[in-house]
């Protein structure tokens, strides 16, 4: 039986994870494209910065985000002047999810884009296609399986995000509590059965995401 508080936590987690994924996909696709197809000054630095959250402790990444978005930092101060509050709000939850899932998406998308035979793109150009048309009608559809896989991975990572979130967003009931934070909280308080209820919901969501991903890939392969 799912309780009202559980439903609210699940809905909040899904909503923030979806917003995060919607931010990660276009930005990650652009980064993967630039990293995979072109040589440019500063490429190694950008590549390292994007992948850094994969190897750093998530809590450390959360501390960096906290520093960046705090009102005393130039960036946080600028946002504050525009009336945008980040730290300890749902926006901080999304920010942590974005930073932690971006490297996974970029890696998957980069591999998928690099696997597209450039011959198809060259031929499309000789047929009069503009660069945006080449990208959207040739490259993207041919890389779609890998990109879809990366999207599911990014969404799943966002759902499970914990370390960076707890530092930059805290664990404020009704405001910033995600499933991962709630599970931790309940275990700490000795409410194991309530924790396991959320664990089961997490497992169902993860299973559904992976199953949909596999089903879509199978349908595309069968065409």
């Amino acid at each position: 039986m799912i309780e009202t508080s559980d439903a609210a936590i699940v809905a909040f987690t899904l909503r923030t994870a979806l917003i995060s994924t919607a931010i990660v996909v276009p930005i990650g696709l652009a980064i993967a494209w630039l990293l995979g197809r072109f040589e440019w000054r500063g490429k190694a630095l950008v590549e390292t910065l994007v992948l850094l959250p994969l190897v750093m402790p998530p809590v450390a990444t959360g501390l960096i985000l906290l520093k960046l978005f705090s009102r005393r930092a130039p960036f946080g101060h600028l946002l504050d002047r525009w009336g945008i509050e980040i730290v300890f709000t749902w926006r901080a939850v999304v920010a942590a999810m974005v930073v932690m899932s971006l490297p996974l998406f970029v890696r998957a998308a980069r591999v998928a884009l690099e696997e597209v035979n450039v011959r198809y793109e060259s031929v499309a150009r000789t047929l009069g296609a503009s660069e945006p048309r080449v990208f959207f009608s040739i490259t993207l559809p041919l890389a779609s399986r890998g990109i879809l896989g990366g999207t599911v991975l990014a969404f799943a990572r966002a759902i499970g995000e914990f370390g960076a979130t707890i530092v930059v967003a805290g664990n404020i009931p009704g405001r910033t509590t995600t499933m991962a934070l709630a599970i931790f909280d309940r275990v700490q308080l000795g409410k194991d059965s309530e924790a396991y209820r959320l664990v089961a919901i997490c497992a169902v969501i993860a299973f559904a995401a992976l199953w949909i991903n596999e089903a879509v890939i199978r349908r595309r392969s069968a065409r």
Binding site: R119, R125, T126, L127, A129, S130, P141
Partner: protein, 220 residues
């Protein structure tokens, strides 16, 4: 004169390509051993690669001039390019492949003509993976032709096909040459193919032109 390369240079892995030649309307062959720079020449003409020196003219208009800093993009060259190996977009049907480069309703009659000449009407609804090697070559040829190119570039169009299919594809290429009157540059390492379809041959080796003239004089 449909094509002119003037002191075109491009460094490659084992040698520097440096070529000058002119090709008249009709069918011209580029002949040479594997790795002699034949495909690179086609890619330079198609605008896929940029030369480091020299000029390229198509139909008397400049498309590359390194000193003059001219490089016309592939999409604006009006050149049909049929590369070696698979080039049909695998996620599209034959019809979507063929119509990819068609712009405007005026081209419809020409599309119908190309489909008729190359006998591909029954293939239109099929997926690319359902085509045989010979059918795929014809579709790739049709896709390049429907854009009304000023010049057709064919890179080893018979490679990967069984011997019995060679004469069939050659027959279609002769139709393109004579019925549709599209000038073509035909690249191959096989002199037997060239004897059947081209008038002039440019022999290349290690990135240089080593012979140029009528097919009977240049080919071994």
């Amino acid at each position: 004169m449909i094509l002119s390369l003037r002191r075109v240079r491009l460094p490659l892995a084992h040698f520097e390509l440096e070529m000058s030649f002119e090709a008249q309307a009709g069918a011209t062959g580029i002949f040479g051993p594997s790795g002699s720079g034949k495909t690179t020449v086609l890619e330079l003409i198609a605008g896929i690669r940029r030369p480091t020196a020299g000029q390229i003219f198509i139909d008397r208009s400049v498309v590359d001039d390194v000193v003059g800093r001219v490089h016309v993009r592939s999409r604006d060259r009006q050149v049909g390019y049929v590369p070696q190996g698979e080039s049909l977009f695998p996620h599209m049907t034959v019809e979507r492949n063929i119509r990819f480069g068609v712009r405007g309703d005026d081209a419809e009659l020409f599309v119908q003509r190309v489909v008729e000449v190359l006998e591909i009407a029954p293939l239109l609804p099929r997926g690319v993976s359902a085509l045989s090697g010979g059918e795929a070559k014809r579709v790739a040829l049709a896709r390049a032709l429907v854009t009304s190119p000023r010049l057709l570039l064919l890179d080893e169009p018979l490679s990967g096909l069984d011997r019995p299919l060679h004469s069939r594809v050659i027959e279609f290429l002769i139709r393109v040459r004579d019925d549709l009157r599209v000038p073509m540059i035909y690249v191959t390492h096989d002199p037997a193919e060239l004897r059947q379809i081209v008038f002039d041959v440019i022999a290349v080796d290690r990135g240089n032109v080593v012979g140029h003239g009528p097919v009977t004089e240049v080919l071994p």
